[in-house]
């Protein structure tokens, strides 16, 4: 339940800070998203550039890149996911603790990008793991990655802690472990996770 804005401002003038538990909780979560130090291809360089002096991701509370998936909240899939690498990406995602989020950075992570026609390239990481924010670009500029962070923060802000739309980590019945694909004769098996991704319907 949100507080009326005017009342909040009025109370603030009196030196009284009023908030809801939900708001405070989400504020804390969104202000310290720790990404995983995990670069796949070209986009990883732009990801590093985003954390460096000029773009300074630290302004968003996200400069602590953790090498271990156990300590990370956010996986930035930065680059082409090949069929050899896809099982590892899904496994790393499974190893991350909830709450966890995924940014698909760049055309390759979204759909295979320029290498889509290749025999060894996964056509989008959202076939196996749920993606929260997609950023197009080849590679996306650091500004675009910052935009993705802000979008993710907005998303976290709006997550209710109870009810139907509560996030996965507060839902006992939500899927926690995602099946890791196995290399088979021609393709990864299964070719996609139907719980996460369904083939787009073409409307003619």
């Amino acid at each position: 339940m949100a507080i009326e804005e005017n009342l909040k401002i009025e109370l603030g003038k009196q030196g009284v800070f009023v908030t809801t538990l939900e708001e405070l909780y989400n504020w804390g979560r969104r202000s310290s998203i720790w990404p995983m130090q995990f670069g796949l291809a070209c986009c990883a360089i732009e990801m590093i550039a985003t954390t460096m002096a000029r773009y300074d991701l630290a302004r968003f509370g996200a400069e602590v890149f953790r090498p271990s998936p156990r300590q990370a909240d956010l996986m930035i899939v930065s680059g082409t996911v090949t069929k050899k690498m896809a099982p590892q990406v899904v496994r790393l995602y499974n190893q991350m603790a909830e709450p966890r989020y995924v940014i698909a950075m760049g055309a390759c992570a979204i759909s295979g990008g320029p290498f889509k026609q290749g025999y060894n390239v996964l056509k989008g990481i959202d076939r196996y793991i749920p993606v929260d924010v997609h950023i197009p670009g080849c590679p996306p500029r650091p500004e675009a990655l910052i935009q993705a962070f802000m979008t993710l923060q907005k998303k976290i802000d709006e997550q209710p802690l109870t009810g139907e739309n509560r996030p996965r980590f507060l839902n006992q019945n939500a899927q926690g472990e995602f099946p890791v694909p196995e290399p088979a004769d021609h393709d990864l098996e299964p070719p996609s996770n139907p719980g996460v991704w369904s083939a787009p319907v073409v409307i003619r």
């Binding site: 070209c42 050899k84 690498m85 320029p114 060894n120 390239v121 080849c138």
Partner: protein
């Protein structure tokens, strides 16, 4: 049980028994570094066999970023492969462009106008500086200095990327060179800003060196680590700063004199010991030489066209034949081998990636070293996985 007994069935290739004997009674430990490891520059796996801290055997595992570059290029028109070459070594897209353009120009016998040659040299040397700066930054970061040198390197890199962006429209994937010239002309304003950036570069290298060259920790970690003997380097066809750090005088800018490199005065820095410190030093000195080339090239860039008027853009069908074009990319000899059968697509398209071939001697450099030094030696080879796996 010694390790020689455990793996006897397949002795070929990487499964051969180690050349070293384990010390003491302890068991050997096999660990997989990567593909998700903060120091692997991407997705690369090293299966390391350890005796305590000592490396007994190291098996590199490639292919986590195999993106079918060569296969896609064989199905595409010649010019359509140009954007893909950007994504080979994604630090140095302009050098890759040049190597590919050079190979195709050799295939069709295409001349390049003077102004375009100068632009190519300027862009390639700017690329070299930003590549070396960031590769040193990554090397030092792997040593444990998290952030500072890399921040300095990327601060300077951003200035150079601004130049690339204002000229080509993209920070990293420039897609700039064409067969017989370049895509867009440089303006006087761009040249002025390039001069300004280049004028600031010596101060940056000085600052970088003041921070690092005589740093006690860096010297202790780097000197005498990962020694590569010159004869082994030559036999393994290692190229680039890695080879020159071992003391072999081989720079394709001097050997082939491709483009217009014979007009510029520059020296080829050589190492003495072939260890990690020498590789660091060679890269720093190469940055200085690149600045020298830029200082010569920027003032004397001539006016004129940037594309050869005879260059064919549409209906590009080279006569049957083959060509190999190579340049001195920041990481070593980057070559493109093309076979044409007279069709609009190459019949065979092969990249000679410096990163992959420089990696082949990784095990020889790492044997007997500590496992913490493996990270360092690997970083000093300076690879990019986009180029290793293609």
């Amino acid at each position: 049980m010694s390790i020689a007994e455990t793996k006897t069935e397949k002795l070929d290739g990487w499964n051969r028994p180690p050349t070293m004997e384990p010390e003491g009674e302890g068991e050997l430990l096999e660990i997989a570094m990567g593909p998700h490891h903060p120091s692997t520059h991407g997705v690369f796996r090293m299966d390391v066999t350890l005796d305590g801290e000592r490396v007994m055997r190291l098996k590199p595992v490639f292919g986590y970023l195999h993106r079918n570059h060569e296969k896609i290029a064989e199905g595409a028109a010649y010019l359509a492969s140009m954007p893909y070459t950007d994504r080979l070594d994604y630090f140095c897209s302009l050098s890759n462009n040049w190597a590919y353009a050079l190979a195709v120009e050799k295939l069709v016998g295409q001349a390049v106008p003077e102004r375009a040659q100068y632009i190519r040299v300027i862009l390639a040397e700017l690329t070299r500086i930003q590549n070396h700066a960031s590769s040193i930054g990554f090397l030092i970061q792997e040593m444990g200095a998290s952030g500072t040198p890399l921040m300095y390197a990327f601060r300077e890199r951003e200035k150079i990327l601004d130049l690339f962006e204002s000229l080509t429209g993209s920070r990293m994937m420039c897609n700039y060179m064409r067969f017989g010239g370049c895509r867009v002309d440089v303006s006087a304003a761009w040249l002025a800003s390039a001069r300004k950036v280049v004028a600031g570069l010596p101060a940056f290298v000085d600052e970088f060196e003041a921070l690092l060259t005589t740093n006690e920790i860096l010297m202790a970690r780097c000197q005498g680590v990962g020694v590569l003997k010159p004869d082994l380097a030559v036999n393994a066809s290692v190229t680039g700063p890695l080879l020159r750090a071992s003391g072999v005088n081989y720079d394709i800018r001097k050997v082939d004199r491709y483009g217009i490199y014979d007009r510029f005065k520059f020296r080829v820095p050589l190492g003495d010991h072939g260890d990690v410190y020498d590789r660091y030093m060679v890269r720093v000195l190469e940055m200085r030489e690149s600045i020298r080339i830029l200082e010569q090239a920027l003032p004397e860039i001539p006016a004129g066209p940037i594309m050869d008027p005879k260059a064919k853009i549409r209906g590009f069908r080279p006569k049957p034949g083959e060509a190999y074009g190579r340049i001195e990319a920041p990481k070593g000899e980057l070559g493109f081998y093309l076979i044409s059968d007279g069709s609009p697509n190459p019949y065979r398209y092969r990249v000679r990636p410096p990163s992959l071939i420089n990696l082949t001697i990784l095990e020889d450099m790492c044997l007997g070293q500590n496992v913490a030094d493996v990270v360092l030696i690997f970083g000093s080879v300076d690879i990019v996985l986009g180029e290793v796996d293609r």
